[in-house]
């Protein structure tokens, strides 16, 4: 798509955050992009504070549309916002984001000359003046999520997609049929899966940044959220069984059922009230550990509590043992699809990358002449393979076998080559 005269629709769904949304609107008034080409649509859903009154009286320098919904459902709010939008580019932004001045322009520029692009904007997390262990830990994980997308050849998956800062052409949004209702959490992941299935190209833009001013999430809220994530992942998995593996840290459970045989899981299934009480008490132990500056103990406890509440969310959705067995078994018994394509690197890396860019297979076998290097397997929920992915994997996971194949085929030591 696009160009210089693109009309941009910025869609905001908000729920009881009057100060945040006011700050966001004020910032959108000072964009570097021509204000007459911007329209802002705010959908307030289930608000009980004075958000609605503020929005009704808001004097905006841009075209401003406000819509009120009584239902507390963010996905529906975003869809309603999109249905009111008239721009050819939609930017979705969270109500707790403070966008940079070049935010809209950077989103627009990132779409230039790119078909079916979905631009994921950078969202640095604002830290409190004296951050606690939880905030420091969260910031490191949060930042890592964005920084890995900046590595050349990174293979995007649905998990990289977030509703807080992304842009998409109105045509692609319509083609994807918007967000699904009924998922209070992980609705962004669900939308990401469908976009990947449609062959959308995910692009990360550092310049399309906005500061994520999450002023309400603390360790209590985050652990609650973990439980909701667990529930939402099960629902998501039920909707897209072939496309995702629930992030249950499955790699840690090497054998079938092993996580259910684990003592904690046994207790968990035996008496939820007891384990819930223990987990709730342990949460307060984290504050004691922080006071005593026992960081490694704090980290270990934090990790276990997160896992507990995540698994607890699973149990909310799959309340009996048989179903709990069924999910991991189903995942482990899934057959890996056959490799779609084979590529030889001997004619040159450039030729191989060009071929992959053209064919975009879901999986590929790689060889160098007669030597087999390895494969890039089908990855559920990840985008199709391109040339940059090949370079990335050859330089990292496949580097050793690539070196061996290269030296055997060239019949000499790499050093001398």
């Amino acid at each position: 798509m696009i160009l210089t005269e693109t009309t941009i629709s910025i869609i905001i769904s908000t729920h009881n955050r009057v100060h945040s949304v006011k700050r966001l609107l004020d910032k959108l008034g000072s964009q570097t992009y021509a204000v007459q080409l911007i329209e802002v649509i705010v959908v307030a859903y289930g608000c009980t504070d004075n958000t609605v009154a503020m929005l009704q009286n808001y004097k905006a320098p841009f075209k401003f549309i406000f819509y009120e919904m009584s239902v507390d459902e963010p996905a529906k709010a975003r869809n309603n916002g999109a249905s009111l939008a008239s721009g050819s580019l939609f930017i979705f932004i969270g109500d707790d984001v403070e966008p940079s001045e070049g935010f809209a322009e950077a989103h627009m520029l990132a779409h230039q000359n790119k078909e079916d692009a979905v631009v994921i904007g950078y969202l640095p997390l604002a830290l409190a003046e004296s951050p606690d262990y939880y905030q420091i830990d969260r910031q490191a994980n949060w930042e890592e999520r964005f920084q890995r997308m900046r590595i050349p050849g990174y293979r995007y998956s649905y998990k990289d997609f977030s509703c807080s800062n992304f842009s998409i052409s109105s045509d692609l949004f319509k083609k994807a049929q918007g967000f699904v209702s009924g998922l209070h959490y992980r609705d962004d992941y669900e939308f990401g899966i469908r976009l990947i299935n449609l062959g959308a190209n995910f692009i990360f833009s550092k310049d399309a940044w906005g500061i994520h001013r999450d002023e309400i999430t603390d360790i209590h809220r985050f652990l609650k959220r973990k439980r909701e994530d667990g529930k939402a992942d099960v629902r998501l998995w039920c909707m897209h069984r072939d496309m995702i593996i629930p992030p249950l840290q499955m790699s840690r459970f090497k054998k079938k059922y092993s996580f259910l045989l684990y003592k904690k899981a046994f207790l968990l299934l035996a008496s939820l009230k007891i384990t819930d009480t223990i987990a709730s008490c342990l949460k307060y132990l984290m504050f004691v550990l922080e006071k005593l500056q026992l960081r490694s103990k704090w980290k270990a406890l934090n990790y276990h509590l997160h896992r507990y509440w995540y698994l607890r969310g699973w149990l909310d959705e799959l309340p009996d043992k048989q179903k709990m067995f069924f999910v991991p078994n189903y995942i482990m018994e899934q057959e890996t699809p056959d490799v779609e394509f084979e590529i030889d690197l001997k004619p040159g890396i450039l030729a191989a990358t060009q071929k992959l860019d053209q064919l975009r297979p879901r999986s590929v076998n790689i060889c160098y002449g007669k030597q087999i290097i390895g494969s890039i397997p089908f990855k559920p929920g990840a985008e199709r393979i391109n040339g940059d992915h090949l370079r990335y994997l050859l330089a990292t996971e496949l580097s050793e076998s690539f070196m061996v194949s290269f030296s055997l085929e060239n019949d000499e030591l790499i050093v001398r080559a």
Binding site: A140, K206, A395, S399, I414
Partner: protein, 399 residues
Amino acid sequence: MATAVLDLDLINLPSEITGLTAYLKAFILIRFKGKPIGKITVPINNGSIRVEQIYPVIISEVEPILKKVWIKDFLGWDERDKIDFTYPKATIAICTRDRPEDLRRCLDALMQLPDDGQEILVIDNCSSTDESKKLVESYGSIRYIYENRPGLNNARNRALEEARNEIVAFTDDDAIPDPSWLRALLRNFNSPLVMCVTGMTMPYELETEAQEAFERYSPFGKGFYRKEYSLNTWHPLNTGKIGAGANMAFRKEVQNAVGLFDEALDAGTPTESGGDHEYFARLLLSGYTIVYEPDALSWHRHRRTWKETKKAIRGYGIGVYAFWMRLLIVEKQLGIPKLAYTWFIRTQLPNVVQSLLRRPGSQPLSLLVTELQGCILGPWKYLQSKRRIKRNHLYHDSY
């Protein structure tokens, strides 16, 4: 007899290196296309080294890292070259005190850096003569600043304050940065959480036994692999392996993020060292990342005499315990006693035993004992340094 220090690139190996009659051994830095990938020490026969004879030693030493470097070079891929990354501009700061000859060598080396718009700043920390000032003025483009509060950390703080660019890269006056040094440091400021990058430092000369002993005992080089240090990957109080003040760079905003360097630490105060490592610890504790980048190469002239070397090692012992004392009483880091105990039991004590038993490769007992003496003095020296600063502030306030 002295050890020759040589620098060889695998892409351009000579068949023979001659003119080494004054040496019995050679310490060789091995590079691949300019990138340092390993070091070897080989004997010298009749004043020359035939490269084909040392080839197996080179390969066995550098093979694992060479594979990684070669493959990235072959593919034209590097994880450091993040999408959208533009190199930030830098200010190079040299803190100096009464060492005009060393300073000249350092500034000459900095003149060989490619011009990326960097600023060079010399902070003269209470030199007794104006030789350094005259020297700096002779270069024309270098800014000279006189810092009248003695102490290396005061000079570093002044550099952070005076720097006009986003990154402040520190080098010691007795170091000689490689032409690619600055770019290699800057390349790693590719994420907002990277607040500091340290580089690798190799010995500039090993002409005396004391210099050889120093290089064996306390090398500034921390290996040939790039490493990222953060709370998730490293014990934040154990910062000795992260790098050294002779070769490090920070974002200028670091002073807002974690405060200034502690003026009670490092050279020019009773604590003698430790200012850099204490600052690294503070950065890690605040959730920032420190990158160790071996491509950011600099050469350091170690102290030539035993007396100077022993003084330096004693100073390191004092510095470690002084900065741990600060972390304990100022930052309330209760893990310090355990760390001190572990260091003593797992490293210092076994080293002393090895040395007493005269095991091959063991460190000189005199240096080990000197360091232990420093360790014992460290906490008191920190308190003494704090008292001295307080007294000075009171003195200045009263006038």
